[in-house]
Symmetry: C2
């Protein structure tokens, strides 16, 4: 049933090593090549990658690690990475991880057992210990999204600062002076960058900073609604709002709809991260969009150059530009 390289050798009368050489695209006499190709077709031979991997000690497989709670945007990066690597003969497994270090280590351990060639991870709550385990085993790592200071691995992340700056500039350019800002998770790298960019933009546009307009909270989802209600209840409520992460924008939209506050007549809004539905809503939502495809592309490129060993420079950091998608949710004042 199973036809192996040995069968091809017997069938052609050539040595095992000659067949192997042909399979690995090394020089073979033209007449032998013809012989081998005919035999492969005749017998229906398929190389056994498991055996190849064992012998050559390269599994041609990489793993993608995504935090469990992660939003589905990363799907775009995942899709790109998976198919790009597949094209190169690599197999790509996707794993969601939980915050618990011991569970992460279990996953990492299995990956090492399977002789994984490299890892691309959405950093999120990936523990230092898990990353170290990977490093200790010589597995190249590319981290996406959050930048964790202490490691010397490669990073690919959106230019979050630029995104915040664009949002601020855009609203200012539309004549808004009273601009609210809704963030959370203050410790996070991405949120910090967006905040910094946003505030810098306002400053560059000579818009006075009004502390009440900027709300950060530590807790999760419901928070954004509370923040929004607070902002709207001010004596002089803002005329425009920057939702600096996806979930806040989502709850913001529904909150505004619930209270029948018309956008953009009553208040203008701009979000961070795009949703397929945002363009279908009335009004459609203006956002800063991350380029997840390019993130995936850059990450793949770096990882492959690390796996092949052609790049052994210290960890690098690639910033991928974001872009403003102008729709209907911001009015000029």
């Amino acid at each position: 049933m199973k036809v192996t390289i040995t069968d091809i050798a017997k069938d052609t009368g050539l040595a095992l090593s000659t067949i192997s050489r042909y399979l690995n695209h090394k020089k073979v006499q033209p007449e032998n090549q013809v012989l081998i190709e005919a035999s492969i077709k005749k017998l229906g031979y398929t190389p056994n990658r498991i055996a190849q991997g064992l012998r050559s000690k390269s599994s041609r497989s990489v793993a993608l690690l995504i935090p469990f709670y992660s939003n589905y945007f990363w799907g775009h990066s995942v899709s790109y990475v998976t198919s790009a690597l597949w094209e190169k003969g690599y197999t790509c497994t996707v794993h969601t991880y939980l915050p618990e270090t011991d569970k992460q280590l279990k996953t990492i351990q299995l990956l090492i057992s399977k002789k994984i060639g490299g890892v691309i991870a959405v950093s999120g709550s990936l523990s230092q210990e898990a990353l170290n385990r990977l490093e200790d085993n010589g597995v190249p790592i590319v981290l996406l999204d959050q930048v964790l200071s202490s490691l010397s691995v490669d990073y690919v992340t959106s230019d979050n600062y630029q995104g915040g700056y664009m949002a601020g500039s855009y609203l200012a350019g539309k004549g808004h002076k009273k601009i609210g800002f809704i963030a959370s998770e203050p410790g996070t790298y991405t949120i910090c960058q967006r905040t910094r960019g946003f505030l810098d933009a306002l400053q560059d546009h000579q818009i006075p900073s009004i502390p009440q307009y900027y709300s950060y909270q530590t807790s999760a989802y419901p928070a954004a609604e509370a923040q929004l209600q607070h902002l709207l209840s001010l004596k002089e409520p803002p005329t425009a709002l920057f939702f600096c992460y996806y979930e806040s924008c989502l709850s913001g939209i529904s909150e505004l709809a619930k209270y029948n506050i018309s956008v953009p007549e009553k208040i203008s809004i701009i979000g961070f991260d795009d949703d397929p539905l945002f363009s279908s809503l009335a009004p459609s939502i203006t956002v800063i969009a991350q380029d997840f495809l390019t993130i995936g592309k850059e990450a793949t490129k770096i990882l492959l150059s690390r796996i092949s060993g052609e790049d052994s420079s210290p960890g690098k950091k690639v910033l991928v530009p974001v872009r403003l998608i102008e729709r209907e949710s911001v009015a000029a004042i």
Copy 2:
């Protein structure tokens, strides 16, 4: 650097086979077990799954195949399947496929090369040839979503008939008599089932069938909008609408918003498949929701029983119940 089973054997003074037996959870003298465990910890040994796979001829890996254009709902099934299989020591790769048969075959070929243990596929436009190739190589297959008549593989799919019936009954129960229906892709198994269920429900509720209210089209996205406009322009437009697939519901919502047709006052709507945003919209959207998690769970269970060989019965078909999520988009008349 790399520590192997041989190192453990040397370190403990036991035979290779004894270590192997321990690793495979077979009986070993208690004192040897202690010895082995200590040595494994001391040397930091990790089994090489590649070598195990080669020797034991089971790779403990399965592949998930998803059509490229597929909506992201399947992500829920994918997540479940991936982590459930991972728990069992299986590695799970996800692959999106294009409609072209030759490309599908290339993917399948690599999977076979990697000695894949089984496949779970969202059937979509998976070609007969690709499926045959898998079958010829003895790879167990579980198909999701569309039922393709000719194969004797396992199926796990939502009870689409029930879903259509529930939608029809619900609208009828709310007093609607003039009920529109928006479908497309008439050849599709799922759409056919939903349509049948829906029409049966109307009949069971003595609601006369008005042909103009039922629109099927062959083309894609823009079609739903055209269909909707047609329905609304009728002299006696329907008072309720069933969008029988996700994309039609999406474009329906935005179309209705665009023309300022208030839901549910002017017209009631119910969709098929739920979107996270549907509960945030004003009004929130009532839908028939598929249970993608259970679909993943069933598929995993069947596949594992096929791989282990404990189930060799002919292909079975599992219907997973759907459920109605009642929200605000349907008014009582």
